[in-house]
């Protein structure tokens, strides 16, 4: 059974329809990459799964339970954690406090402040620093660590490499690779197509709120994804993957 199931999801931003009828499944242990141009609806989709936006219609099912009307903090309790675009740290609080907040949902698991600091060694000396005073890489590590502290079954990562130098991005992805190989289920939004394809099992390309292409990351051709990215692709590989 799939861990997450999105059925015909529609999300609106005021008058704008940001996500227009999207369906897909994510199996346990899978890493799904969401790609697409700016404004394609990737962030909105992730936020809707996390409960930050209410769906206008359609359904999100997680671990067999319908999430309609479930507020975001309850979804964290059920095992969904989002690393939001732009980090959104609590800048007036310390790194440690930010991490501890991740435990608010009270889910049991292995993640602790110590383990996050082991995973992201660059945070170690910054433990008691205000999050507002961190570098971009440190902030991203804190944001990921904060999400991990809730011991999620499903981790949603929104543009974790945005605004970071390539070196730092490598480091962030190196630590993600550890998570992936440990069997975590991840959906990640990534602008860098190569990185998205190399780190994931499956890729979905969104265009104007719809799925333009879905396929296996290992077999799909880069050219095909690029076409879908710019809307040159015509319903080729089918909207709904297996």
């Amino acid at each position: 059974m799939s861990l997450l199931s999105v059925e015909d999801l529609v999300v609106r931003h005021g008058l704008l329809q940001a996500v227009r009828g999207v369906s897909f499944d994510v199996a346990r242990g899978e890493t799904l990459a969401l790609v697409g141009a700016n404004g394609a609806g990737k962030t909105t989709l992730l936020r809707a799964i996390a409960g930050a936006h209410q769906a206008a219609s359609g359904r999100v099912t997680f671990d067999g339970a319908d999430l309609s009307g479930v507020p975001s903090h309850e979804r964290v309790r059920k095992g969904i954690a989002l690393v939001p675009e732009g980090r959104r740290l609590f800048v007036q609080m310390t790194v440690e406090e930010n991490l501890l907040l991740g435990r608010s949902a009270g889910r049991a698991g292995d993640w602790s402040v110590e383990r996050v600091l082991e995973t992201f060694p660059n945070l170690k000396p910054r433990r008691h620093a205000k999050a507002g005073h961190l570098s971009g890489g440190e902030q991203q590590a804190t944001a990921i660590g904060r999400a991990l502290m809730s011991n999620p079954d499903l981790l949603l990562l929104d543009e974790v490499s945005l605004g970071l130098s390539p070196l730092i991005v490598d480091r962030v992805y190196a630590s993600l690779q550890g998570l992936i190989s440990s069997g975590a289920t991840i959906i990640l939004v990534e602008q860098d197509l190569n990185r998205a394809l190399s780190v994931s099992n499956r890729v979905i390309c969104m265009l104007e709120g719809r799925i333009a292409l879905a396929g296996d990351s290992k077999t799909v051709s880069r050219d095909e994804v690029t076409k879908a990215y710019f809307g040159l692709h015509r319903k080729g590989a089918g909207g709904v993957p297996a």
Binding site: R12, G14, L15, Q17
Partner: protein
Amino acid sequence: MSAASPVIERGTAASRIAGIGVVAIVLLLALAPQFLSAGAVDRMTALFVYVILAAMWNALAGFGGLVSVGQQVFFGLGAYFAIRLANAGLDPFVALFVSAVIVGAVSWPISLFMLRLKNGEFAIGMWVIAALTHLLVNLDRLIQGETGTSLISLNVYDASTRRLTIYWLALASMIALLAILFGLLRGSTGAAIRAIRDNEDAAASVGVRVIGTKRLLFVLAAFGIGVAGALWLATAITFQPKTYFNVQWTAYMIFMVLVGGIGTFEGAILGALLFFLIETWFGGTGVWYLIGLGATALVFSLLLPRGLWGTLEERFGWRLLSVGYRVRLPTSVADPTGETISPAPATAHREKA
């Protein structure tokens, strides 16, 4: 969007009929004292004052986005300056208006200061101003502290002349202030006012003079409420600071505007009328009347924040006195996705400047 172009109109057929109606009502009101008893004339005068208060508080809160709970300061000052001017030998009726002008002038430096505060801080900051002003007025020897004094010089006129003069002054003031407000809202300032009401930050970013516009409304509201205070003094004759600087006046204003419809020109007038009727019927019940007013304000702010007029206007597209332009979207554009706007009170106005 769609190829069909929207229809832009200013006012509706109903609003043209309403225009004629307004003229008729004004004429009727001007002649009314011929047919009314002395007591009824006094009550009508009170109604005009309420309309002024509601319209002025609405100008500030509904159009300027400035909720003040200290507007009693201008009401009290309107009366106080009138007393002072009359005491200095000015004709009492002239003093009423000179006083209001002074109140408007005084409000300008206050605005420099207070308009930098936001929301609740502005609201309660104005209350501090009112409390301080009340205390300072008490220090004036002429006022004799809370004992107060009277506008004795009005006694040179006999009772019926006085009553009629005040009635017509109140009527004229009300019409003039409403006309000024109406003109402001319809003119180029009106566009700025509506832009600020809908989204202050966005308005500022497209070059609307936010502070200047707010200051204009602040000074207008102060002037208008000053007129109301002076008129109230003329009908009551006695001036006790505690009565005039009472926060109750602001409570009345809030009640009228909330119930009538905040941010709608007609709503404030409707609210004043309702308040007038409620006071006439229930004013005698004393404290329960006040509890009722507070509870009604509370319920409206929670359940019907757009007030009666705002709700009716939205439901039926009513617009009697049109202060803006309306864009009527051709039906083809109104597809289901385009129409579901969340009914947030600040943004749901479909009137475009």
